[in-house]
Symmetry: D2
Subunit: 135 residues, 4 copies
Amino acid sequence: MEKILELFSKDKFSKNCGIKVIEINHGYAKCSMEITENHLNGIGTLMGGAAFTLADFAFSLAANSYGIVAVSTNAYISFLKKCMGGIVTAVASEISRSHKLGVYRVVLTNNLGEQIAEFNGTCFFLDSHNTENTH
Amino acid sequence: MEKILELFSKDKFSKNCGIKVIEINHGYAKCSMEITENHLNGIGTLMGGAAFTLADFAFSLAANSYGIVAVSTNAYISFLKKCMGGIVTAVASEISRSHKLGVYRVVLTNNLGEQIAEFNGTCFFLDSHNTENTH
Amino acid sequence: MEKILELFSKDKFSKNCGIKVIEINHGYAKCSMEITENHLNGIGTLMGGAAFTLADFAFSLAANSYGIVAVSTNAYISFLKKCMGGIVTAVASEISRSHKLGVYRVVLTNNLGEQIAEFNGTCFFLDSHNTENTH
Amino acid sequence: MEKILELFSKDKFSKNCGIKVIEINHGYAKCSMEITENHLNGIGTLMGGAAFTLADFAFSLAANSYGIVAVSTNAYISFLKKCMGGIVTAVASEISRSHKLGVYRVVLTNNLGEQIAEFNGTCFFLDSHNTENTH
C-alpha cells in the first residue's frame, strides 16, 4: 500500500483540492476534503467538479489498491444535496472485480452524515500481456 | 448573457483550474483549459477530476444560458484518451430541453483535435413556482 | 400500494418478459425474472436489454411507491457477470428523495446470490402544480 | 458482416421485441422497432426497457462490426421524450475505439424525427491473448 500511497501523493490536482487519504485497503478507500471558498461555484455551493474529483480520487485509490495499474474508463455521478461547507468524506467500495475490469461505488457524505453524491466508476486493469496504453 | 458570465466568473473552483469561456449562446458553450503540472495525477496525465471540471463548467454555462437557473442532477463521463499537456477545449451542446429538464452533451478535445472525453449532463430548471431547493 | 401494483400489472412489456413483483414498500421494490431462451442474445447469454428491463421495472415500482407519479429521466447500468439461466432478482432501494427528484440503486443477483448488474436510476416527481408532461 | 448479422439474428430477445437491422457498417449500425401495445408500460407509453433494448442492440451491432467480439461493460441512457406509437429508429455511431475499449453513442428518434433518447455504451474487445471471459 505504501507504494500506491506514494504514487497518489504525487497527484497535484487532488493535492491542490485539499484531498486527504484516511484509509486504504484492498478494494476500499476513504478520503476527505475540507470545503473552503476555493471549492465553491458562482452561487456559493460545492462545485460539481470538486465533488467529482474527491469521488474519483477515492475510486482510483480503491481500484489501484491491489498493486495492479487500473485505468479509469468511465464514471457516473448523481448530485443529491447542495453542500456549502464543512468536511466531505468519500468512501469507495468494490462492487465487482475480474481479471480485466473493476466497478466501484463511492458514497460522498457531509458533516451531518447525509449523502450528498453517489458515484460509480469503471476501470480496466493493465497486466503483463497488456502494458501498452489501452486508450 | 453578461449576467450569466458574471455569475460564472465568481466560480472559484473553475477559475483556479484555469478554465476560460470562449463562447456562449443559447444552449451552447465553448470553454478551454491549459494543462499545467497542477492538473496532473500521480502518473503524469490529466486527472479525471480536472477533465470533469472543464466539462461540467461548459455544461453549466450552456444549461444556464437562457437566464433560468439550472441545477445539475447527474452526469456521465467517458475517458477516451490520455492527455499530458496542451490546451483542452470543451464544447457543450443541447440534446434536449423542456420546461423542467435539460440534457447536454460535452465533447472534450486536445490540441490535435482528438476527442479525449465524452460527457453527458442532466439538469433541472427552477421556475417561479418552484424557487425552493429541488434537492 | 394496491393501486400502484394494479397500474404496473398493465405494463405489457415487463409482463411479456416474465417479471414478477415479490415485494413493494416505500422507496423499495423486489422483483424477479426467470431466464428462458427468450431472454438470450446471439451468444446464449442474458441480453442486456432484458437485464435493464428488470432493473428499470423495480426502479419504477420503488419510485412510484409513494403514490406520486415518478417519471424516469435517466439510468446507468454496469454489467458485471454473464448470466445464462436461472432466476434473476432485482432489489431497488432509495438513495435519495426530495420534493422533485428521486435517485434509486438496483442490484441484480443470480441464483447463487452473485451480483450480475448494478443500476442507478433518476426520476422526477410530478405534482399538482406540475401535472403537464415534463418532457 | 454476414457472419455478424447471422449471429445477431439468433438474439431471441431483440427478435421478440420486433427489432430490425436496417444498416450495418464498421462502427455504425441503424435499427428500427415498430411500437405495438406489447412495448408499452402501465401508463401507455414506450417502456424504458424496450427503448434501452433497441439502443443496446444497435450499439452491440456497431461494436461487433469489425468481427472482433465486443463485450458490453456499461451503458447510460437519457429518456428525452414520451413515445406512444410509431416506429423508433436507433443510429449507433462510434465515438472512440482502441485495441481494448470502444465507446458508442446511440440516438433514438421517433416518426417525426424527434430525438426520444440518448444512449452511451462502452465495450471491451476480446482478443487472441484474452479469449477467456472478462467478467
